[in-house]
């Protein structure tokens, strides 16, 4: 399982990368491994708003379904349309090609996010 430096993580296994005041959002390598072959992604379109901690979409594998939780609040600038057509990218390249949303950040509650080290520890400790 890989955890990348320079990203922040949620306990629900989303990652967030800040580029100035824009956040790029996706799901972690651990998330894709536990789901198995991902078959479907549902994401909100550009223009709609995220609220940190609330659900914004769904990923599905053959026999599991998982809600996505926003790691920050803000307005969606761009949604990865190509990912909708190729959900298998989430298995192949969760941190790059399979990014989900680009968000113009209005607020990040840092206290609810984990550093790479803490996320690694969180995953190991929760017995996975």
């Amino acid at each position: 399982m890989s955890v990348l430096d320079g990203l922040r993580y949620t306990k629900e296994h989303e990652w967030l990368r800040l580029e100035n005041d824009t956040a790029v959002i996706g799901i972690t390598d651990f998330a894709q491994q536990s789901l198995g072959d991902i078959t479907f992604v549902e994401l909100p379109s550009a223009g709609s708003n995220l609220i940190q901690g609330e659900t914004f979409g769904v990923v599905e594998s053959v026999k599991a379904v998982s809600d996505l939780y926003a790691p920050c609040s803000g307005e969606i600038l761009e949604m990865n349309q190509a990912l909708i057509d190729s959900p298998e990218w989430l298995n192949e390249d969760p941190y790059a090609k399979a990014w989900m949303l680009k968000v113009k950040v209005s607020e990040i509650k840092e206290g609810e996010l984990l550093s790479p080290e803490d996320y690694q520890k969180f995953v190991e400790e929760s017995g996975h």
Partner: protein, 497 residues
């Protein structure tokens, strides 16, 4: 090698391939001949369909060969042992089919006047009466089309009862060992599910229920408990649990999917249960048919009877007729429900009589305990407690030694001539295999199944096989389910997309 293969009942034989029926089609070929039309043929004056629906154009032998070949690709109870836990895959007696096909029981219309439907109404009436006695409850409806409809119906009755008493309630308590459909049925009935964890011993603790009752009080509409539960264990605290639940005016719903284990040995009505459903395709042997039709009658205590679905079949002055309850929840299925399944179940009950029904429960529990005893020598048993008709083992030992998981064990069983158990359910046991042999398997077949499971365990332990490619003896190999979900081809016309 030859010695080990002794236990392997599946071999490859002559299996015939077959495209879809549409691909057999030949333009202009006609099959079935309808009766002659004895009046002038006329076509609708408007809204006429411009192009006929593209159905196949095939002859009688085409159809017979096509579907006969398809049938040969299915594994069924008639083929071999089918220990699919919680589904009760027992033998489906053929006398049931014969009587259900009698013209006087199949060619009858639900809106025919009651005076020419006395036999049909009598069947419904008698089935409801028999199920009441088996449940130890007061009234019954045979209208629900399946167990899931039964669950919804039962909860809708609870909803109507509370509403009638001016009480708006929000929650249904569901133990984590209940059937998987229960939460979805709660949603349909307008309730939120509160999941209750079972104790270490696999049954629901009274304290767990008491805590929930203290916390949610009169917001609780009901508890929905499967008994025996999906670990195959009897909920030993059921009497106390019922008392605690009743103390806040909530109702006790029992999912009766596992009645096969206790029919004639325990009555839900004597456990404090207010409402329950039966699955006629489980306890009373109506065929599963590749996924239906089923039937899910609901039995209730007297105080819920005024809300039962309409119409009700009644017997007065030695005549059967229907009547309508003013406070009924309405209808949960067209007409009288899956009447044809009631005929089969009634036939089964009458074939057994009172003592025979008891014998079903006893033999199913005996078989399950024997299988559990033998398999627990090689597979990790989930709970060391007295089992009823089914039990759970897991892949823990095989995963540790050879990295082989439940899914591979299931597929390896196919190559040995058996249908796999229910896998990855119940969710409370990781890598679960829920095994239910039923009472209709002989000791010899149980021993063959044990030998097949042991053979799989042997090969994993010796490192000989991981079964990554299993099954190999089936008409198709492992099916790519991810591809099916990513690029859905749901009809022939989707192939071109």
């Amino acid at each position: 090698m030859a010695e080990k293969d002794y236990h392997s009942h599946a071999t490859t034989g002559l299996i015939l391939r077959e495209d879809t029926i549409f691909e057999r089609s030949s333009s202009g070929r006609e099959g079935y001949r309808l009766p002659n039309l004895e009046v002038p043929e006329v076509s609708p004056k408007s809204l006429r369909r411009s192009h006929p629906a593209e159905l196949p154009e095939v002859g009688e032998l085409d159809v017979v060969r096509h579907f006969t070949r398809l049938s040969s690709w299915n594994y069924s109870i008639d083929t071999g042992m089918f220990p699919l836990g919680s589904c009760t895959m027992k033998y489906n007696p053929r006398i049931n089919e014969e009587v259900a096909a009698l013209p006087g029981l199949s060619d009858i219309h639900p809106d025919a006047p009651a005076e020419v439907s006395q036999g049909a109404l009598e069947i419904i009436y008698q089935m409801e009466r028999l199920l009441c006695e088996i449940a130890g409850l007061d009234a019954c409806t045979t209208q629900p089309a399946a167990g899931a409809v039964g669950e919804f119906t039962g909860l809708a009755l609870v909803h109507a009862f509370h509403k009638h008493h001016g009480s708006r309630r929000k929650y249904v308590l569901v133990p984590d060992t209940a059937h998987g459909t229960n939460p979805a049925s709660c949603t349909l009935a307008g309730y939120e599910t509160i999941t209750l964890p079972s104790s270490k011993t696999g049954v629901l603790g009274v304290d767990t229920v008491r805590e929930a009752v203290e916390k949610y009080g009169r917001d609780i509409a009901a508890i929905m408990i499967t008994n025996p539960n999906t670990l195959g264990l009897f909920e030993t605290n059921i009497l106390e649990i019922s008392e605690v639940v009743h103390s806040v005016g909530a109702q006790v719903y029992m999912d009766g999917a596992n009645m096969n284990a206790i029919v004639g040995m325990a009555k839900p009505g004597h456990m404090g249960v207010d409402v329950m459903h039966f699955n006629l395709h489980k306890t009373f042997s109506t065929p599963h048919g590749g996924g239906g039709p089923g039937a899910g009658p609901v039995a209730v205590r007297e105080h819920l009877a005024p809300y039962l679905p309409n119409p009700r079949v009644v017997h007065t002055d030695s005549k059967y007729s229907v009547e309508y309850l003013p406070e009924s929840i309405g209808k949960v299925k067209g007409a009288f429900g899956n009447f044809g399944m009631l005929v089969r179940a009634l036939c089964y009950i009458r074939h057994h009589g009172a003592e025979g029904l008891r014998a079903i429960a006893r033999a199913s529990v005996l078989n399950a305990n024997y299988l559990k005893h033998q398999l627990s020598k090689r597979f990790k048993l989930s709970h060391d407690a007295p089992s009823f008709h089914e039990f759970v083992v897991s892949d823990a030992l095989q995963a540790k030694v050879g990295g082989v998981k439940t899914l591979q064990i299931a597929k390896a069983l196919m190559d040995r001539g058996f249908h796999p158990p229910t896998i990855y359910f119940p969710l409370v046991v990781p890598g679960a295999m829920l095994i239910e042999p039923t009472e209709t398997e002989s000791l010899q077949d149980l021993d063959r199944f044990i030998a097949a499971m042991n053979d799989i365990a042997d090969r994993i332990e010796s490192g000989e096989e991981t079964f990554a490619d299993a099954p190999t003896k089936t008409i198709v190999g492992k099916v790519d389910e991810a591809l099916a979900a990513r690029r859905p081809v749901l009809s022939l016309d989707d192939r071109a997309l």
